[in-house]
Subunit: 338 residues, 2 copies
DNA sequence: TTTTAAATTGGGAACGTTCACACTTCCACG
DNA sequence: CGTGGAAGTGTGAACGTTCCCAATTTAAAA
């Protein structure tokens, strides 16, 4: 390969255009108080030299990095994939870059990533998953904007954008009830902070509202992945009084449940109805297609970025603020309807 | 929030430790020629002040960013999710960061991202997907290391790590043949550069080797996603002479095909065998579970990072080099065996 | 015309590092 | 006891910007 040539700097532009460094800088940054004539000259010189400002120097001078870090627990989790896709799209439009921070739920890694804020390597951090308790993170708020996305912790002292999990579970459970189901089971998904708690409340609320009894045997906690769904099915299959419907805390759980049911010769939704959560692509790949709850990921991404930019531009605005989004019911074929 | 306090700089360490700036810098960078006594003093001061070097200043001085960009066409594509997970893991270990570049197959965006190299914003770029032809990208090689991962283009003049798609398709097709299948269909997947071409060659090679005729009607090109799989099934269902096995260029295609088959009352694999590609999680969520070809993503990530680091450290080593990995057959239940 | 304000322009200083160089000290060796 | 070289240390310069301030020009108001 060719030897990397010495970079073109602002001084080269100065020489070619015949104006001063200050003026060139003003042109680059679209500042006022530059005559049209010189502005044109500078632009031509920049064009001709294919000059691009050195970002490191700009960062050093400005203390702005035009970079935002996103902390997720696992990039390969499809939910985060979709969320990242959304965040990236919005962030790029505004001239920012996205730094990928994958924690695998390591508390230490999360802290290391948060330190990016202290060292001025990023302008802000989006916490899309949280491995530590807020107590252990809160100090970082002093070093730059943090926005939470996808989860709530009532203690959090920054803007949080997330789903109303209680309402989501309520809608789902209500959908069962409206279609004549009275014996409804609930899988809590992994009890990540208070997401599960909220969902269970929504589930119970819907039951109570319709005068249905809550049966502890039908509530499963810490169910995770397809394996978890299969396990739940095995439990259900062995019950004397079985539920006719299962609200599950994730599409994988639902798919696992359905798979186990079909494998045991059951018919879905005739013998048992199942509802997923998250509206992941898998839901349409299976038969019957999964009725599920959809998170408004696009909206979540948009608002997160908006709040982040606001926080970056006006450090005052970094206050506790919960933005709660509504879930959507996606009706497909895994729920027996009237 | 508290007002962001003025950052602690090397000068603060100088004052507290009572040595010179140069010595502090030497301690920070683990350079020799520092007495144990002063080294200790400096370390204590750093500890006490919780000092962290300003990365922007280091970058400006060093022209090293300790950041690597990864260009992918879509983060939400599960394959890239897995690959990113792997890349991130290895990169972090070496003290680098990962900048996420999502192109959505936009040629312009890809070019914009490649420009990060020119502006010294990253030390290197991993091209995990390629929206442009190599001709239009090659100039960027002059500005820093580029490594290709996940695809080959014979013209590419940098290290490339990828799957031997020809062999992968050969293995898959052979598996059908070894289990008594003689009428085997092929879905090419999206014809992304020469991936599809290689696969088709492997498919044809296996057939020829066993003296089987190639039937053009059974070769489907540009099939994509579950919808594509369904479409292929509809085609197959209407044939007078139907294949008994389908090799598909992606798990989604395979799942779509199976779904359509089951919906039409077919039995899989009794009535028709199906093989996927990529070994995505979906494959285990469906019934029958999908027999598929697995890409060695972990290995691919590891080697990619290794080549990238080599290229960064020794700019000479940036030459054309193809590293071809072997695929794995994952046997599950979607292929009728003898 | 004179005064005043605004627009335009140039150049020094600063951002926080690391590097190159110069200087001192120390020790080994003849 | 002088000499050479290595180890240890401090300081000025440089990396490439942007900001601030002062100087100059221009335009508007009186």
């Amino acid at each position: 390969m060719k030897i990397k040539t010495k970079a073109i700097t602002i001084e080269d532009v100065v020489r070619l255009s015949g104006v001063s460094r200050g003026t060139v800088s003003r042109v680059i940054n679209d500042h006022p108080h530059v005559s049209e004539e010189k502005r044109k000259k500078v632009k031509e010189a920049i064009e001709q030299l294919d000059y691009m400002p050195n970002v490191s120097a700009q960062r050093l001078r400005n203390i702005k990095t035009k970079t935002i870090a996103v902390i997720v627990s696992s990039i390969s989790n499809p939910f985060f994939g979709l969320l990242l896709e959304e965040l990236e799209k919005d962030v790029i439009k505004l001239g920012y870059q996205l730094l990928l921070c994958n924690t695998r739920n390591s508390k230490k890694k999360e802290i290391d990533f948060l330190r990016l804020l202290i060292t001025n390597q990023v302008d802000g951090i989006i916490l899309a998953s949280m491995a530590n308790y807020w107590e252990n993170i809160k100090e970082f708020v002093n070093y730059g904007p943090i926005v939470c996305c996808n989860q709530f912790d009532p203690k959090v002292e920054v803007p949080s954008i997330g789903l109303d999990h209680e309402e989501a579970a309520y809608i789902g459970t209500k959908h069962f009830i409206d279609n004549g189901h009275e014996k409804i089971a609930f899988c809590g998904g992994i009890s990540q902070f208070n997401i599960s708690v909220g969902r269970k409340q929504g589930y119970e609320k819907a039951l109570k509202e319709s005068g249905l009894k809550i049966n502890k045997d039908w509530i499963f906690d810490n169910v995770y992945g397809t394996a978890g769904g299969i396990e739940v099915f095995n439990n259900v299959a062995n019950m004397r009084v079985r539920p006719t419907a299962v609200f599950s805390g994730g599409d994988e759980i639902a798919v696992g449940f359905i798979k186990a049911a079909l494998d045991s010769g059951w018919k879905v939704p005739q013998d048992i109805s199942v509802m997923g959560f998250d509206n992941q692509p898998i839901g349409t790949f299976v038969s019957p297609e999964l009725t599920t709850i959809q998170q408004p990921i696009e909206q979540m991404g948009k608002i997160t970025i908006q709040k982040m930019i606001e926080s970056i531009n006006n450090i005052q605005s970094m206050r506790s603020e919960e933005i709660i989004l509504k879930a959507n019911l996606i009706e497909r074929n895994s729920v027996k309807t009237i």
